[in-house]
């Protein structure tokens, strides 16, 4: 039982870290630049497809990953240049609609290019297998690699936003673009790069996941909602908040699903318990979000404005 608990804890953390990887890019775009980007999930999907396609060409996942990331970046840059830059002065609702349209287009575009069937990629040889974690307990190496990548991105991003001038300019530009420009910074180029970076992070997350979950159309949609949940629970614009919230959501979801029924069974009859469990499980994170927002309307770590 303790072994299972530890294992599920690790699984929850890993799910949380994955959510954070996707949410990280969105924190830049939504939290810092204040653009609601519903196409972010689709960019995650594009990353997965790119990695799958390049792996197919190169015959090696790591090479595929290395090729996919810059292309995801380029893709983000083009998207910003074509569409997103016209949205900075628009209302949140206009942003929602335009990026919703983009999301539809990307999902459909992927289907036209690669078809509806899932595409998968083999685990890289070096990262397959598992290592001992605790006693007899073992954990897959690749999932530990995902954990590591997520932690690295979290630290790097936090440092970038809070400790560099680039981060300051970004936060400044989010609230007043014209003023940043009037003080001598090319804010358009800065936003272009940041959006590109956000897209790259989303693509990186998708690429990292493709050996575990296969690339398929619409795969970004659920992740998208979850990442918005994460960002809002954490406090919009807060890297630390997003990280904590991602882990929280990952743990609550994973542990709730595996231990919730056991808990319920001790409270009520087995039939009733499994029925209730099935009803509650998919709602868990929404209940979590509603509860957190009801108590802390601006999230766990609100950024003061």
């Amino acid at each position: 039982m303790t072994n299972l608990l530890i294992l599920q804890g690790l699984n929850g953390l890993q799910f949380g870290v994955l959510l954070f990887l996707v949410a990280a890019g969105l924190t830049l775009i939504f939290g810092v630049m204040d653009v609601i980007n519903l196409a972010h999930g689709a960019q995650y999907m594009v990353g997965a497809y790119l990695a799958a396609a390049f792996t197919g060409l190169a015959g090696n996942f790591l090479l595929g990953l290395v090729l996919a990331v810059p292309v995801a970046l380029a893709f983000g840059l083009v998207l910003e240049w074509l569409v997103i830059r016209r949205l900075y002065d628009r209302s949140h609702l206009d942003q929602v609609l335009v990026t919703f349209g983009l999301m539809l287009m990307l999902n459909e575009g992927v289907r036209i290019l690669w078809g509806s069937a899932p595409i998968s990629v083999d685990l890289p040889e070096a990262l397959s297998g598992s290592i001992p974690v605790w006693g007899t307990l073992r954990y897959p190496v690749y999932r530990l690699a995902i954990l590591g990548a997520g932690l690295g991105v979290a630290l790097g991003l936090w440092w970038m936003i809070h400790r560099t001038r680039l981060g300051m300019l970004l936060r400044a530009g989010a609230s007043n673009r014209a003023m940043v420009s009037a003080l001598g910074t090319d804010i358009n180029r800065l936003f272009l790069l940041v959006f590109g970076a956000g897209a790259m992070l989303a693509g990186f997350a998708g690429a990292m996941m493709v050996p575990v979950i296969s690339a398929e159309p619409d795969m970004g949609d659920t992740v998208l909602i979850l990442t918005f949940v994460v960002i809002v629970i954490g406090g919009i614009g807060s890297i630390r908040g997003a990280f904590v919230a991602a882990l929280l959501v990952g743990l609550v979801d994973t542990l709730g699903r595996s231990f919730g029924p056991i808990l319920l069974r001790s409270l009520m009859e087995p039939d009733m318990a499994s029925q209730t469990g099935r009803t509650l499980a998919p709602m868990l994170i929404y209940i979590l979000m509603a509860a957190i927002l009801a108590v802390r309307p601006a999230g766990l770590f609100p950024v003061q404005r």
């Binding site: 072994n3 509806s116 069937a117 899932p118 897959p140 575990v212 979950i213 699903r257 499980a281």
Partner: protein, 364 residues
């Protein structure tokens, strides 16, 4: 005056793979027949139900009211089937299902104008349940948390005589199953039974392999089939499934079908394509039998019921409730010489079973 056929499949969204198989199977048959059905010129209207029942009902009504179709071949998913069958049959249209065979339409709610060219939904699971009974004493069950998931596991449990180690329901949109796999590992069952259709199956099977659980025998329905195999590849080899058909089913008709399908679409057909292909020939036979007189619905119904066509599945006939009487097999995934993957028949498990609901159907 020709015959108008509506083909309603899920053709958009991630669930479209199944619908594309169904559509392609039907169109292949039609092409083989030179665009004619039972000697009549045919007009085929392909519509997408988007896997949304309300959208599907509208498209169905449009097929009736605008296009005045005689027959609809569709749908791919049970919920859509349940939504469209009523409105269509009330309007006097015949509905041929290439995949779903919901229990509600097999029992008391059976419908004179509805024909399942596939199977009753529970049957593939009953087949696997019966097969696993002799092989594993404790089996772990997993399915997505929706109505069909519950139904399929119920079907399995109906014939499975061993002990159920545990039963897990996962969200439909979940992609990472590490937590479930950990639970399976902890339970250490003798076998796993999964109903994880489409993309769910792709991820589940690959992660099952990655987690090193392949020592636990894997049985399933709709989880490893020709739709998912191109993505699962080697990871699914040796995994079991159950059904009424496999590409290697040894009938002449089937060999021809598989060869023609692969030649035309460059992929291995799945059962969805095979059923839709059969539906086209069934329709052809019935129209021919009534001499092209589509107005005589009773005659057409009788002709459909007679199922006087050469099925890819070999012997094929309809029971009183318009559900098939046919053989069922357990299959196993194998890699072919050309590097493609397909399911192959391991053994015939049930011979022309009558589905569990047929007795409640008032039709004789």
């Amino acid at each position: 005056e020709g015959v108008k056929v509506g083909v309603m499949m899920t053709l958009s969204g991630s669930a479209a793979v199944l619908g594309e198989q169904g559509r392609d199977g039907f169109l292949l048959a039609l092409e083989e027949m030179g665009g004619k059905l039972g000697g009549l010129e045919s007009e085929v209207i392909v519509v997408d139900d988007e896997l949304k029942p309300d959208v599907a009902v509208n498209r169905a009504r449009e097929l009736v009211e605008s296009h005045k179709v005689d027959v609809v071949v569709g749908a791919m998913y049970s919920n859509v089937q349940m939504a469209i069958t009523g409105p269509l049959t009330e309007a006097g249209v015949f509905v041929l299902s290439p995949n779903p065979g919901p229990s509600a339409l097999a029992g008391a709610g059976c419908n004179p104008n509805f024909f399942a060219v596939s199977y009753q939904n529970d049957q593939p699971d009953e087949v696997v349940g019966a097969y696993v009974s002799g092989k594993a004493a404790r089996t772990f069950l997993i399915a997505p948390n929706y109505q069909a998931g519950k139904d399929h596991l119920t079907g399995f449990k109906r014939t499975y005589t061993g002990e159920v180690a545990d039963e897990l329901y996962v969200p439909l949109d979940q992609m990472d199953y590490s937590a479930e796999l950990a639970q399976i590992a902890a339970a250490a069952p003798d076998a796993v039974y999964a109903f994880m259709p489409g993309g769910l199956g792709v991820n589940f099977v690959r992660q099952y392999r990655q987690a090193g659980l392949e020592t636990i025998p894997f049985y399933s329905t709709f989880t490893v089939d020709e739709v998912t195999l191109p993505a699962q590849k080697k990871d699914a080899v040796g995994f079991h499934s159950g059904g009424d058909w496999a590409p290697d089913l040894d009938t002449e008709r089937n060999r021809a079908f598989v060869a023609a399908f692969e030649a035309k679409y460059d992929r291995v057909p799945a059962s969805y394509a095979a059923h839709a292909y059969d539906a086209a020939y069934l329709l052809d036979s019935a129209i021919r039998a009534v001499g092209g007189n589509l107005a005589d619905k009773d005659a057409l119904r009788a002709a459909l019921k007679a199922a006087d066509f050469d099925s890819v599945r070999g012997e094929f006939s309809f029971g009183a409730n318009h559900f098939p009487l046919q053989d069922f097999y357990v299959t196993r995934v194998a890699e072919r010489a050309d590097g493609k993957f397909q399911t192959q028949i391991v053994e015939k498990v049930l011979e022309k079973p009558v589905d569990a609901y047929a007795a409640e159907c008032p039709m004789k």
